[in-house]
Amino acid sequence: AQSVTQLDSQVPVFEEAPVELRCNYSSSVSVYLFWYVQYPNQGLQLLLKYLSGSTLVKGINGFEAEFNKSQTSFHLRKPSVHISDTAEYFCAVPIIQGAQKLVFGQGTRLTINP
């Protein structure tokens, strides 16, 4: 079964600074990869996904992620964060390739300081 590891449980950054949230996955074969965001007291919302094609994926709210097969990584980045980006971010991968069940990382809490 595939798995994902989010390397940081909490990431504090200052407003307008760049941010990178790290995610590594376990499989060495082609995978589908997802990032979800959870704003306070809400459900999870799809931020972006990689299914195939270009390794640089652009999502909502100015976020992007790069699929790196050699590093088995799918890090999430934003060049300049805003207070409204304060949320928890989850990386996810299908439990086996093509399966409907997703396995989620433990989450990274992004805190933006003014």
Binding site: Y36, L44, K49, F90
Partner: protein, 114 residues
Amino acid sequence: DVKVTQSSRYLVKRTGEKVFLECVQDMDHENMFWYRQDPGLGLRLIYFSYDVKMKEKGDIPEGYSVSREKKERFSLILESASTNQTSMYLCASSSPPGGDYGYTFGSGTRLTVV
């Protein structure tokens, strides 16, 4: 856009009560899921369903059951609520790869058992 609607945002129930959490999706998705989310534990899969009347246990099914009589509706049942079932419950639905792959989540139900 796919919408997943959870019937209650907040619920307070007494120990021993039978509790029903309802989830409805409006995009004809085959797959539906129930997760619980607890601080430090991330998302844990309780049950999922890949078709009407079909269900499969997730990682933590004890104390829960589910019902899927219609494709759009997936209910989570706490047979006899206990305080350790106080949690955020998230419902999700998904379509297979090739389509709009990935989960769509509801807004969550925060359940408190007293």
